[in-house]
């Protein structure tokens, strides 16, 4: 790494309505450096990078970029075209790809003059093939992007930037959709490219990869830069503290003896629109006092499994047994009656009715309960009293129990759902991505409540894309890939990662685990 400055953001500020997304942020990047931009959800990382790339117009501040001769030049703001011309490329978290076009067309798009009547794709293809050979990022160029895997789509995004000869590459949460191995390969590729002079900023909230692959870390909190640290001097505690502004309580998991089985799936299949929304011949047992973690890259059958346990998907074959009784008909009502508590993946859409009050949402799954109604009329006072008690117990903050539920923040909506689920003392809890999008304090609260429910005797199915979360909470780990579930007999990240990528058959997990260690 040299000390040549290639980029400097000076006092960038942006507000959306009354929300301050970025407040006077300064940032510098040097040639050949990998800078990690770290912060919680909503800390303003993506907004900052979108201003750099011209998607957003900053309210205040300037950006300077080194030109090819190394002279700092002011960058015209608010124009992706200008950012690209200045050698800045961005790989978006939500890929900016046209799925009806081939990878080649996506990469070349925008680099040709629109008034041209003919295209010179031969030269473009040759250049891309040269880049692919050089960096090891290979994709099939003529396949429509809609038919590529997520990993391949990300490579197309990176190739898009490299094709434009960028000197600065911004990656927004690049590993969110990758298996651990794919992520490692990505960072190896990035490492090789930085040795040739590319400078990289990558956004992440995963402490592990930030510590492993960056040289410097800048931390944002509530839109402000709260610190910068050389990675060599950082550890997880220090940067977690910088991100949250306080120590996060440790969630200690105590060992417990599993009790009787609460959920058994025997050869259960669910047929979805594609293999990726289906389950094939699933066998699974969850015991009382046990958290079963379902690890996998998203879109490998998790939604089919969650739908099955919630009662939304009917199995096409196989037996579902809940607390020693076979479920004759899998419907939402039957599953709730049999003692399933559900924490859905999309809490805004599936977890509540936004237009109804917090109090109503808290009893919405038991409207026939005599505590809630008599002779078909809702007991308003009882419902309100119930909500008052639960919001106090679960620390749900907001404009009051009579207010519409959509006015709550994401963390408080999740607490409202936890209160609704846990108060019914469910035998089985489905927790689908329970901490996604929550800040670290809210996430650790969710983890604490799940462990409490486990201690109280519930069996818990924890579906998460975050392997660290699963390893931290689960007693057993099952890997889901392409609609098939395999129990991981190891807790080794590498071995589980290979299973997530579908590279290991159920019979040889130990063996390849040993190889990669």
């Amino acid at each position: 790494m040299t000390d040549t400055k290639v980029l400097s953001l000076n006092g960038l500020s942006k507000r959306f309505g009354s929300v301050i997304a970025n407040d006077c942020v300064d940032l510098e990047l040097h040639k050949g450096e990998v800078l990690a931009l770290l912060g919680e959800n909503g800390a303003g990382k993506t907004t900052l990078m979108n201003m750099l790339f011209g998607h957003y117009m900053p309210d205040a501040g300037t950006v300077e970029v080194a030109d090819e001769a190394g002279q700092m030049q002011a960058l015209p703001l608010g124009h992706p075209q200008a950012a690209l011309a200045a050698g800045i490329g961005m790989v978006h978290q939500h890929f900016a790809l046209a799925e009806n076009l081939s990878a080649l067309n996506n990469i070349v798009l925008g680099s040709e003059r629109l008034s041209l009547l003919r295209r010179d794709l031969k030269a473009a293809r040759a250049k891309i093939e040269r880049i692919m050979q050089h960096t090891g990022l290979t994709v099939t160029l003529d396949t429509p992007v809609g038919r590529l895997s997520v990993g391949e789509r990300q490579r197309v995004e990176i190739l898009k930037a490299l094709y434009r000869d960028v000197r600065i590459l911004v990656l927004d949460e690049p590993t969110a959709v990758l298996t651990p191995q794919e992520a490692d390969t990505l960072f190896e590729n990035i490492g090789a490219m930085t040795r040739e002079g590319l400078s990289v900023i990558f956004i992440s909230h995963k402490l592990r990869e930030v510590l492993a692959f960056s040289q410097r870390i800048a931390v944002l909190r509530h839109g402000k830069k709260v610190g910068e640290i050389a990675t060599a001097e950082a550890d997880e505690r220090i940067i977690a503290r910088m991100m949250v502004g306080a120590d996060t309580p440790e969630t200690a998991r105590q060992e417990m003896t599993p009790g009787a089985p609460v959920l058994t799936l025997q050869d259960v299949s669910v047929t979805g629109r594609s293999k990726r929304d289906s389950l094939t011949g699933a066998n699974l047992t969850v015991h009382a006092h046990e958290i079963l973690g379902i690890a996998g890259v998203s879109g490998n059958g998790q939604s089919a499994l969650a739908g099955l346990i919630s009662g939304l998907n009917r199995p096409t074959s196989g037996r579902v047994t809940l607390a020693a009784e076979e479920v004759a008909q899998v419907t939402p009502t039957n599953m709730i009656k049999a003692g399933v508590g559900r924490i859905p993946e999309d809490r805004h859409h599936d977890g509540m009715v936004g237009a109804m009050s917090v109090a109503e949402n808290m009893v919405i799954e038991r409207l026939s309960d005599p505590e809630v109604q008599s002779a078909g009329f809702l007991k308003k006072d009882a419902i309100t009293a119930n909500a008052e008690k639960l919001t106090a117990d679960y620390d749900v903050r907001g404009p009051g129990v009579g207010a519409r539920a959509r006015l709550l923040s994401g963390g408080n909506i999740q607490k409202m759902i936890l209160a609704r689920v846990f108060e019914q003392s469910p035998k089985l809890i489905l927790a689908n991505q329970p901490t996604r999008g929550l800040d670290m304090l809210a996430a650790s609260e969710v983890a604490r409540r799940l462990l409490e429910a486990r201690a109280a005797g519930a069996g818990i199915v924890l579906i998460s894309e975050d392997l660290d979360e699963i390893l931290g909470l689960a007693d057993r780990v099952v890997v889901i890939h392409d609609g098939e579930m395999i129990e991981a007999e190891t807790r080794d990240r590498e071995a589980i990662g290979l299973m997530m990528a579908g590279e290991v058959t159920p019979h040889e997990p130990q063996q390849s685990g040993a190889e990669t260690q």
């Binding site: 978006h92 046209a98 799925e99 996506n106 041209l116």
Partner: protein, 314 residues
Amino acid sequence: MMDILNILMSESFWAASLRIATPLIFGVLGALLCEKSGVLNLGIEGIFVTGAMVGWMAVWLGLGLWGGVLAAAVAGAAFGLLHAILTVPLGLSQHVSGLGVTLFATSLSYFTYRTALPTVSSPPKIESFRALDIPVLSDLPFLGPVLFQQTAFTWLALLMVLLVWYVLNRTPLGVAIQAVGDNPDSVDAQGLSVYGLRIGAVVAGSALMALGGAFLTMSAFDSFFFGMVNGRGWICIALVIFASWRPGKALLGALLFGAFDALQVRLQTEVGALVPSQVFIAAPYVLSIVALVIAARRADYPRALLTPWFKGQR
């Protein structure tokens, strides 16, 4: 049965099919271009009326036939621009804006016609496009009458099929239009203007629609009268889905509809006494719905169709 075979073998039937299909070819291509960029243009029916009126009036005022074609295209482009401004940068409902454009364009065209010609009782005629007479080719058996005795306006429609196909698939502009209709972010992230591409596609598409209307007054007939467009625009909206947004299949769809229509007129004279005439008039529409039901199940809609995009809101 023999009657139908006789009809299908006759030159006049195929010539009529292509003639009936011509305005639809323009309309489907125009709607296709708009929708490929992600904008549904329900202004098509009104833009047909405008094209018919403006094209005819330009010729009547002495601008010549090709002057009329140009005037119709410009008028269509103007209504396209109105629809594009309302739906692209302002992001209003494409359905509401499109229906509004249809009402506005239709009424304004009728109003202009009545204001310009307050006293005439029978519609004035113009010297319309004539059938081509190409030496040798026009005298070929069968192909001559079907293809080479059509008007130049029909040939313009066939040329447009090739042109739209070429632009969409072989030029950087066309690839960008396809991208903006699938995921506007992809275009924005590569430094191209989402608004520019969408507005351009809607304006160009609307100009094509207006040519479909102009064909009616300048080639199929030689005067303008109220109600003459008679739902042809709506048919085009359905045919785009039938064509799965491909210019070649758009031509096929338009020809199929033209053939149904030509067939029903002939059947009506053959067996008209046995079956009520309404059955025949309805037949092409019923058959289009059937064809649509079959084709639309596999339809690959442009993913961003109907979805407005705003700069700075990712």
